[in-house]
Amino acid sequence: MFRSVASRRVSFAIRGIALMSLALTVNGGARSLAGVTANPVTISLLAGGNDPAALKFATDLAAAFTKANPEITVKVNTRPGGTDGDNLVKTRLATRTMDDVFFYNSGSLMQALNPDSQLVDLSGQPWAKLLTRDFKQAVSTSKGMYGAPSSSTFNGGIMYNKKVYAKLGLQVPTTWVQFISNSQKIKAAGIIPVLVSYGDTWTSQLFVLADFANVSRQVPNWSTMYTSNKAKYSNAPALAGFTHTAEVFNKQLMNKDYATLTFVNALKLLATGQAAQYPMITAIISNVVQANPAQVNDIGYFAMPTDSGTPRATVWAANGAYIPKSSTGDKLAAALKFVAFLNSPAGCGIQATSGTVAGPFAISTCKVPADAPALVADELKYQAAGQTGLALEFVSPIKGPNLEKILVQVGSGISTAQAGAALYDQDVTQQAQQLGLPGW
């Protein structure tokens, strides 16, 4: 075992020498940008988490890429998901130790990475002009465009079991009142009406986050007012998400084990028809594809019902692939190739088979395959009707870190909707002050 420590030291010394020689041959590195590298290169790829879907997507993509480019080997690393992952990504970037390519969210989380100083500008890449406007906006600053889509877009709203709806003769609700009355009928039939899965606390947020397209329909500039400290969650229309969360608890429309149920198990209940409705983001349909492949097409989607009855679907922009500035020379050339491959026909194929098709793609080279999960068709209907809006995280940099905990309190009867919303406004204030935004 001492030998292994010693050999690390040796390899370290060699790496030091390699770095020096690299510094001496900057021009050589620049030339290789043109894409004529025959030397074997190894780059590392940081997957978008450590869940089975994230890992499978990254490894399949790496394998397909190496098959097409035998001189480039791609090593896949994983990282924790959620906020642990956010931290790790920031730490790696700030200390210039990030993998050569990494998958990460777009929108406000990506903006928090200080992209202008940390990421390689991709706006000059040949595929850049094929991106949708929404995606470009979600990965750009005033100075550059930094990401390539690594997934389809997806929606937030209610995922529901179509068979249960058909069996009970229910219609897809548009108003909140219809949603509640549907739920009560489902409950009377002995089926869980609304799945609540606080075993994974992040799932508590959907009644609020997926309602945002409805908020922005009523007040189009709500996000601007919110960012400048003029709109609050304690007031209508944004308060609705909190009251809806509380109402499901107060009317006891959720599963008994709501405090411990995990989203993976909740999806199984939904797929098998033991439960009827689940407020969720559709991206997680990939888990159903893995765990209950026979039931994927029993699951449908509808937008978050509203009081007025004209709901819009809340859309999340695609996740991105990014290259850190610490990736240089041959590695940068290989990383650029890899990112381009991601949205080539072969890459789109991997996204369709190993990734998640949970909505339309953000680049014109990738098309929704005919065998995509049934709920994608439901999402496309809202798209075709123009009844969509981006989620708040793509139009405002502010999101209080404690929203999920506060909504667990509201959804477990520990605090009221009004108190929860007020607490969240305080949380948001803290975030805005930490971001140094004007007006707070």
Binding site: S4, F12, N50, P52, V76, T78, P80, R92, T97
Partner: protein, 277 residues
């Protein structure tokens, strides 16, 4: 004498029964879960597996992600052995001098000991330091970090127990012409054996089980440690609780073996302390 024997039995039996309920049942639960099918394991019930598939789960878990668990165990053992060795030597020296004499530097060391216990590591500045020393992301760097953060606890223990070594022994050794290093290494350290063993056991467990420090200071899948591997496994096996519990079992076994081996050492070490007294 007879009453004493009976008491030894009664108390012993009660203690054994309590320990079975409190300590062994959870362990048995881990073993049972590790032997179940995924469907059975996911409902957490304390039941005998319908079909005992221990060996199958074991080989599946060991083979997962190119045998990451085995690699991780090797890395963790290297890290643990090196950093605990360094920790014991360095902290015994410091704790010994700290307890024996008042020095100008003692307040500084005392301050560091207490501060080291209280203040959590500052992640990013520490990475900067490691990068300046060209040690970031290397095993030697990780060993130094674990050593540093284990020093406080170890020095505290040594300082507390050095006093149980009679000072007269030092004086006798000095009169015999022993220099400071010989006095420390050949006279004092052997007498501190119970503490040395305690520090080794406690710190080995701590380093082996550490999650946060390797997460930040030792990135990369080649150098993954046991806890990081378990965490990754946790994310990947939400539908396979049987494999998850098997992974827990696998990474608990090296410390368990080490402990069972050391247990004799601890007991004999401790009793040697008593004889010496």
């Amino acid at each position: 004498m007879k009453a004493e024997r009976r008491r030894a039995w009664v108390v012993g039996v009660i203690a054994i029964l309590v320990s079975v309920a409190v300590f062994l049942v959870p362990f048995l639960f881990v073993v049972l879960q590790a032997a179940k099918s995924p469907a059975e394991a996911s409902d957490f019930s304390f039941s005998w597996p319908a079909k005992w598939q221990f060996a199958q789960n074991l080989s599946t878990t060991l083979a997962a992600s190119d045998g990451v668990l085995v690699r991780a165990l090797v890395n963790s053992v290297v890290l643990t052995v090196c950093s605990v060795t360094a920790m014991v030597l360095i902290s015994a020296m410091a704790g010994y001098v700290l307890a024996r004499k008042q020095s100008r530097w003692a307040p500084l060391v005392n301050f560091f000991v207490l501060a080291g216990l209280i203040v959590p590591p500052a992640v990013v500045p520490t990475i900067w330091v490691l990068q300046k020393l060209q040690l970031f992301g290397t095993m030697p760097g990780m060993i130094l970090i674990e050593t540093t953060f284990g020093l406080s606890f170890s020095i505290l223990l040594f300082r507390a127990f050095v006093n149980s070594v009679p000072r007269e022994l030092d004086e006798a050794a000095v009169l015999d012409g022993a220099g400071p290093i010989r006095l420390f290494a050949q006279v004092v350290l052997p007498l501190l054996r119970p503490v040395v063993v305690t520090v080794i056991v406690v710190q080995s467990v701590f380093v082996f089980n550490d999650f946060a420090l390797p997460l930040y200071f030792l990135p990369g899948s080649d150098q993954v440690t046991a806890q990081l591997a378990l965490y990754t496994f946790y994310g990947q096996s939400l539908s396979f609780y049987n494999l998850l519990f098997m992974a827990i079992l696998i990474i608990t076994i090296p410390p368990l073996i080490a402990y069972i081996f050391f247990n004799r050492q601890i007991i004999s070490g401790i009793t040697s302390g008593a004889v010496k007294g």
